[in-house]
Each structure stands twice: as C-alpha cells, then as structure tokens.
C-alpha cells in the first residue's frame, strides 16, 4: 500500500513552483517583470524619503542560453533611502520579507517583487545576486547573496564594507537573468515611458543590451505628500487579520482593542459597536438592560426613555475570544453601519499638477484636462481616482483611444480589455461629447488605494467594483465635458479662420478677373471688404 507523504514547503519553494502568479510566466515576461519590480522598489525607496528618484537601469548581454533566450545582467541603481546592512540579506534573499505589511499606499502588495526577480535569476542561471547599499552613513555595504529555496533563507557568499567618501545613498542590485529581450523590448520601453508619465519627478535611464540609451528626464522636483500609515478599517478586515491583531495586542479589553487597532474608531464608536454586537451590555438604573435602539447616543450615551446615564458591563478580553466569537466579530464589523468612512490621508494621489506635468512631458498634447475625484471607499478600503484626457499633440490617431492605466503610480500594461476603465470608456456615449474614436485622444486613469482591487495576482488590471466603476465614470464624464468645450471652441475658431481665408483668397481674384473683363487698368480696392469680413467674424463669436 502506497503511503502518501506530506511535506512542508517554504514560501520560496512555493513561488519557485508557482512563478506564474508573480508575473514570471515566460522568458520575455520574466525580463519585463524583473525590471519592473526593481524599478518600483527603487521608486518607493526614494519617495519614502521625499527624494526625487534617480534610477539607472542597465541590461547587458552575457551569453546565449537557448535558441530563444539569452542570459542578461540586470543592474538597477537608485538614490533611495538605502537599506540598513542587517536587513539587506533578508530583503533580497527571503521571500515575503518586507516593509509592506502595514497599511498605506505602496506600489507593491505582496513583498514579492525584488526577491522574485532575484529568485528567478538564480533558478535560471545559478549565479548569485549582488546588492550594494548605503543609507548615507560612512559605510557602504556590499553583499553577494543566494536564496536557499527550500528553507527560504538568504545565503551570504560574500560581504564587503567600503568607505562612503562621497556620502552616497541608495541601493544597487545586480544579478543575472535569463530572458528574451527582443520580445520584451516594446513592453519595457512602454513601461519606462508610462512610469515617467506617472512619476514626473523621477529621472529614469535605461541602457539596453545593444547599448541604446533611453532617458526620461523629470519635469519637476515637486513630489506628492507621502502617505501616512494607517490601521485597517473595520469593513476591510478578515478573520486572519483579526487573529493576528489579537495575538499582538497589548490591550486587555475590547473597547481599547477596537480603538487602537482600527481606523477611525474612537471610544463612542467602539462602545456603540460593542452594544450592537452584544459584546457589551448597557443598562439603565430604571429600565434595566437596554437594546442598541433604546440608547440615545447624542451627547454621551443615555437612556432614550428617562435620559439617565448608562452603565456598561466591562467587555471581554480580546485574547479570550473563541474562534467562533472571532468569526462572529468579523461578521458584526461588516454589518455595523456607523463606522466612519476611511480617511484618505493614507493615500498619496499624484495631484492634478503633477499628473498634468507627467502627461505633458510624455505626450505633449494640444489640450489636456486632469481632475482628481474626492476619496471614496470600497469594502473598507479608501481609494482616489485621478483621470486625465489629452487631445492632439503626439497622441496617435489610431481609430480608438489610447488608454493609460495606472495603479498606485504603477503602469498597467497587460489585459487592458479586462480593466474596469476600459469597460467604462467603451460604455460611454461619446457622441454626447462630440468625440469620435478617430480623434487623437489619450485617456489616463490613475487609481490609488491602500488595497488596489486587482482582479488577479499578476496585478495587471482593476476589477469591476461598482464603487470604482462609478468613480471612474463620473471622473470621465467630467473631463469629457471639458474636452467637449475645448473641441467646440476650437471648431469655432477653425471655422472662422477658414471663413476668413476663403474671402481673403477669392475676393482679390474677383477683382483681378473683373478688371480684365471690364477693360480697366487699375484694380478696385478690396481691402475694405476683407476688413469688413474680419470684423463680422469677431462679432459672430
């Protein structure tokens, strides 16, 4: 009888076996994903210090790997915060290790990016990665690392300490990777262009394996305010998160627990919720135990019948909640209607000025309007939609609109047709706005959120959430109205210009022909007539 064997696998092992879900599907996609993950880490590292990012990416050819793939060396340098030496090995040599488990708007969501790239490189080439970093202190630390895949641990092969004479700050990552650059090229260039568009304060430099230099210069040094870290909102929690919070909380009663670990929950809200969910009992000296509806909360809780102040039974110790109680707690958290909506200061939208600067820099349009919607929420997660619509300039006329999608300042380059923006744009009645698909129009949609509603792990498109759809649609209508105003004004001016040019072209000819025909020598003076048309033209406006 065969015996089934079970073995534990490490996180590294898991991603080694399932690299598709992190975007390393095939050789061309892998090289794109590696660049993308490292660039995004670098952007985050610089932005967290409010330093305008300077990022240098070089991909150099190392040798043939197979008929379709080559070995490349990828080097990414940034001027970001740098990593403290004791964290360097884990930051690059241990999957699911990272600074991204607190709630604020960040580019990545899984803490996978950089490590996955290094892991993938190691799998394919068996070469170590080298990481050099300094936080601007007197020393620069340089590591040669590999990942022990089975144990999910970094292996340090070499460690050097250099003197930081020039007070350099930043991180340099270099490793070998197998991939297909030729096929990935257009996506990679598109990625840089769009990243430059949505990070207009960044300098991006890319040198490709043929030595071609692509440079995207910053248009401004203004940067958006960095997001504040925030606790999870009660609507957005699940049982797992509750359990973790309970494990690490120092608080011994539910009211304190709720107040300290959840976003926008104060004493009153916590008290209300506890009564609502039967975790606490409110009683009046005259009427005894009161239900949630019998309590008047305005100006401190008191009995709605006699106005007496109420006594509350001390609530449970969260650590003592049973598993069933935790499940129930989560269900009540979702049901309770009186939690305040999440605050958007944990978000860092780009802002109209910066988004404008980015679009102007990369598309140089004839007309551009950008708006930012007020914060909104879905399932307890705050989000903000920013939208821009650009007309003319370097935007191609290709029979349909060019759509640029961004989430937390990351360009989304794949699966456009599945994205909620694509659906909203296609469902719009564009004729109402005098817009036709053959116009050179680009639409830029940026969603920022503490939890971007991606449909898949690949982080390529935004799910069709009704709240998100509504915000995108409203934003789109708003910019379209302004575009329409611009278009009709331009059409009017054009028509006027054409009108004037017709008279200016033909009246002199009429004068010329009639002079010959009448047998006269001197042509009649028509300047007065042409002027009168011009005057008429301006009056008509």
């Amino acid at each position: 009888m065969a015996q089934a064997t079970f073995e534990e696998i490490s996180a590294s092992d898991f991603f080694y076996r399932n690299r598709d879900i992190a975007g390393f599907t095939n050789p061309s996609r892998a090289i794109f994903a590696a660049i993308r993950e490292l660039v995004e880490n670098s952007l985050d590292a610089a932005e967290s210090q409010k330093i305008p990012p300077d990022i240098y990416v070089r991909l150099s050819f190392e040798g043939e790997a197979s008929t379709d793939t080559q070995i490349y060396k990828l080097r990414v340098e940034d001027n970001g915060s740098g990593i403290q030496p004791r964290f360097i090995p884990s930051a690059f040599g241990q999957v699911l290790y990272g600074s991204k488990y607190k709630l604020k708007q960040m580019r990545g969501t899984f803490g996978l990016g950089g490590k996955m790239a290094v892991l993938y490189g190691q799998i394919m080439t068996h070469r170590p990665a080298s990481v050099t970093s300094s936080t601007g202190s007197a020393k620069i630390y340089s590591f040669k690392l590999m990942i022990d895949i089975q144990r999910n641990r970094p292996i340090i092969l070499d460690r050097k300490v250099l003197i930081n004479k020039e007070q350099w700050r930043g991180t340099i990552v270099e490793f070998a990777i197998e991939g297909d650059y030729l096929r990935a090229r257009s996506k990679i260039l598109e990625y840089f262009k769009q990243t430059a568009m949505v990070n207009p304060y960044a300098n991006l430099t890319f040198v490709d394996p043929k030595g071609r230099l692509y440079k995207f210069n910053r248009a401004t040094t203004n940067m958006p305010d960095p997001p504040k870290e925030t606790e999870p909102h009660p609507y957005g929690v699940d049982v797992e998160l509750l359990q973790r919070l309970i494990q690490l909380t120092p608080h011994r009663n539910m009211q304190e627990f709720l107040k300290f670990h959840f976003h926008r929950v104060g004493d009153i809200t916590a008290q209300k919720f506890l009564v609502f969910s039967d975790l606490s009992v409110a009683s009046c000296s005259k009427h005894g135990k009161l239900s949630y509806q019998e309590i008047n909360w305005t100006g401190g809780p008191h009995c709605s019948r006699c106005g007496q102040e109420l006594a509350f039974s001390s609530s449970k110790n969260p650590k003592k909640l049973s598993h069933q109680e935790i499940v129930k707690l989560m269900q009540h958290l979702k049901k309770f209607k009186e939690f305040l909506p999440p605050d958007a200061n944990c978000l860092s939208p780009l802002g109209q000025e910066l988004l404008k600067a980015g679009i102007v820099k990369e598309l140089n349009p004839e007309y551009l309007v950008v708006i930012q919607r007020k914060p909104s929420t879905y399932a307890g997660h705050p989000f903000i939609i920013e939208i821009g619509i650009a007309y003319g300039g370097e935007i191609p006329k290709k029979g349909n609109f060019v759509i640029y999608r961004f989430a937390n300042r990351i360009p989304l380059l794949y699966d456009e047709a599945s994205d909620v923006s694509y659906k909203v744009i296609n469902a719009m009645n564009w004729r109402r706005y005098k817009v036709t698909s053959d116009m050179p129009i680009a639409i830029v949609v940026h969603i920022c959120s503490t939890k971007v509603p991606y449909k898949t792990v690949g982080k390529e498109f935004i799910a069709d959430r009704p709240e998100v759809r509504k915000e995108v649609a409203n934003a789109l209508r708003e910019v379209s109205r302004q575009l329409q105003r611009f278009l009709s004004k331009r059409e009017h001016v054009d028509r006027e210009k054409r009108r004037l040019s017709v008279f200016a072209k033909y009246l002199p000819r009429i004068a010329e022909f009639s002079t010959v025909l009448a047998g006269k020598k001197k042509q009649p003076d028509i300047q007065k007539l042409i002027k009168s048309v011009q005057k008429y033209g301006t009056e008509e406006k």
Partner: protein, 372 residues
C-alpha cells in the same frame, strides 16, 4: 432657283456677346470699386422654375431669380469661378479661339482656379450661360463634334486664317463636320429649298449616294443621334436666315421621336437659352403609323420604351400638334418599333424613291394647311 443670302449675322452676334461679357465685368468691377460685395442676379434653373412656353414652343425659365453674392461664404468661390469663366470666355471670343468643356476644366488650372471636378466646371459654364442668356457655343466653348451637313449651301468662314474664304457644302461626299468653324460661318448662298435632318449616319450616306439633295433640293443634316446644341442652332439658322422648311427623319421609336422633338421644341437643360430650337421643323417619320402602313419589319417595344412613351405622353411639348399623341397611342397599341433601315426590305432605294417623296408631300401639305 432663287439664291438666298444672309450676311453679317455672325459678326453682329460676336459684338453682342463681347458686349454682354464686358457689361457683366463692369458690373462686378463697379460694385467692388464702390466698396460693396459684388452680386449677380440670374434666373433660377431649379426645376420648379422651368415652364413650357406654348408661344415660343420651348421650355423657358420662370420669374424666379437667384442672386449670387460674394458676401456669402458659400457663394464666394462659385462667384469667383463665374468671374473667371466670363473672363476666359471673353478671351476666347476676342482671340477667336475655341475650347471644349474639358479644356475649360484644365485651363482653369493655368489661372490657379481649381474646379473640384468636371461637373463643377460644367455648372459654372451653365451659370455663365444663364447670367448672359448666351449658349456656351457663343463663347467658343464647344462639345465634341459628330454631326455633319451636306448640300448646295455656300458658306463664308469667319474663323481666323479663313476669313472671306468660301466653301460649298456639297464639295465633300462624306458631308462636312458641323464644328466651330462651320457654325461661326456666314451663309453666302444656296439653291436648296428645304432641310432634311437625319438621325443615322447610314441613311445620311445613302441619301447622298442617291442624290436626295439634288432630287429634292435639300440640305442634308446628320444629327448622329440626339442633335448637339450647335447642330440645333445651325438648323435654326437654316430655318430663320434662309427661310427653309425643316423635315426630320428618325427611327420609329420613342427615342427617335424625341430626337425630333428636341430639335423642334428644345430641351429642359437648355431652358435658359433661346434659338436652339426650330419650332417650325416637322417630324416626317418614321411614325408608328408608318410601321403599320408600310408593313415594316419590327422589333417589340421593351419595358424602357413603354415607360418612356408614358413619360412623353405627359410631356407638355407633346401637347400641341395632335400628331404626337396620335403616334404615341399607336406605338402603345402596336407595341412595335422600327429603325430607319427597315425600309431596305423593299430595296435600297425604296426609302428615297417612294417613302421620302410621299412623306415630304404629306408634311408639306399639312404645314401649309396649318399655317393658313
């Protein structure tokens, strides 16, 4: 036989034409000089302004007029084109050069005046015709020539290089092309006492071979299908200036009948023009009743023929002489048609020896009768 003479008509006409064009130019010039947008008023050519005039026995334009103003953004381009066309026509007439519609279209480009297409340039020429009341042939703009004339008529050229030279139109047995040089000639003298217009080239040649021109003292005109405007004008001149009666021979079908009608009463498209029709000309055959009387070999009328007959039945031009309605009814009754050549079943000369004299006598009598 008395020799008829007609001279000076062409020279006089040329002066009138140039005068008309100059007047148009002066009008535009003066308006511009006075600081106002020039405008030209001309009769409207829209279908509801075209009426049949029973006295003139042709279509004419009604009272309504249109104004082309250079003030109007939609008019300024056609206005300019019209001014150019007037100037160009003036040059052609002055230098006695000829041109065609196609040529006009291309010539415009030499003046940096572009027409969108041939149709646009044709329309402008029609505008010029309407504004001046003159046909384009008067401005030396001619279509392709295909019709011919033969007979004892001496003409005197007025075209450059041939001024004063004469030609007898019986000097070439194929006939002489009715082109600009011929239509601009003065009639010197003739012994003919009638004109016979023939639809088809084959019959025209037969008539010459059989000396119809001598036997019947006739000038023979080949219309080659629907007569071109200059041929219609030429026939009108033969009728007016030389006082010759005109007899028209066509195929015995609705289309042949209408060829005769256009020579007699003009066309809708030329409602803005005069003197292109010959109201006194008569249709001598082949009639529907001839098909019956002469037992001619026939073809059945097809659907298009029948439809055309119904159209013609309602046409105001067919309401005057009762002959027309009678023949249309006969066609509809027998539902057959016959070509001119059908007479060949009785031998090659039958049409000349028997049919023609009978018809000429018949129509001649009728004409005398109706005229008195």
């Amino acid at each position: 036989m008395a020799q008829k003479k007609s001279k000076g008509v062409i020279a006089e006409k040329k002066n009138e034409i140039m005068g008309g064009l100059k007047k148009l130019g002066t009008q535009i010039y003066d308006q511009l000089d006075n600081g106002v947008f020039p405008r030209i008023t001309m009769p409207s050519r829209s279908t509801d302004n075209i009426h049949y005039d029973p006295d003139l026995r042709q279509y004419v334009l009604g009272e309504r007029s249109v104004t082309r103003s250079a003030r109007n953004i939609r008019h300024v381009k056609p206005f300019t084109q019209l001014a150019w066309a007037a100037m160009f026509s003036n040059e052609l007439t002055f230098h006695r050069k000829t041109s065609t519609l196609r040529d006009v279209y291309y010539s415009a480009q030499a003046y940096n005046m572009t027409f969108k297409d041939q149709q646009e340039s044709n329309n402008i020429i029609t505008d010029l015709e309407t504004a001046t009341g003159r046909s384009r042939e008067d401005f030396n703009i001619f279509p392709e020539e295909r019709s011919a004339v033969f007979g004892d008529l001496t003409i005197e050229y007025t075209v450059p290089g041939y001024e004063g030279k004469t030609l007898n139109l019986s000097s070439h047995p194929d006939g002489v092309l009715i082109g600009p040089a011929l239509t601009s000639s003065e009639f010197a003298n003739t012994t003919a006492n009638k004109v016979i217009a023939i639809e088809k080239g084959g019959l025209f040649t037969r008539f010459i071979e059989e000396s119809v021109h001598k036997k019947h003292n006739a000038v023979l005109v080949l219309t080659a299908g629907q007569a071109p405007r200059q041929t219609r004008y030429f026939i009108r001149r033969l009728s007016d200036e030389l006082n010759l009666p005109v007899y028209i021979f066509t195929d015995g079908d609705p289309w042949g009948m209408h060829i005769a009608m256009v020579i007699i009463s003009g066309s809708v498209n030329a409602a803005h023009l005069r003197e292109l029709n010959t109201p006194d000309a008569v249709w001598s055959g082949v009639w529907a009743s001839d098909i019956v009387n002469y037992k001619l070999p026939t073809d059945p009328l097809d659907e298009v023929d029948i439809k055309r007959l119904h159209e013609l039945q309602r046409d105001p031009r067919y309401q005057g002489d009762p002959l027309w309605q009678r023949e249309i009814k006969t066609f509809l009754k027998i539902r057959r048609k016959a070509e001119q050549e059908a007479f060949s079943r009785y031998g090659l000369t039958y049409i000349v020896d028997e049919y023609l004299p009978a018809k000429l006598e018949d129509r001649g009598k009728k004409k005398k009768y109706s005229a008195s």
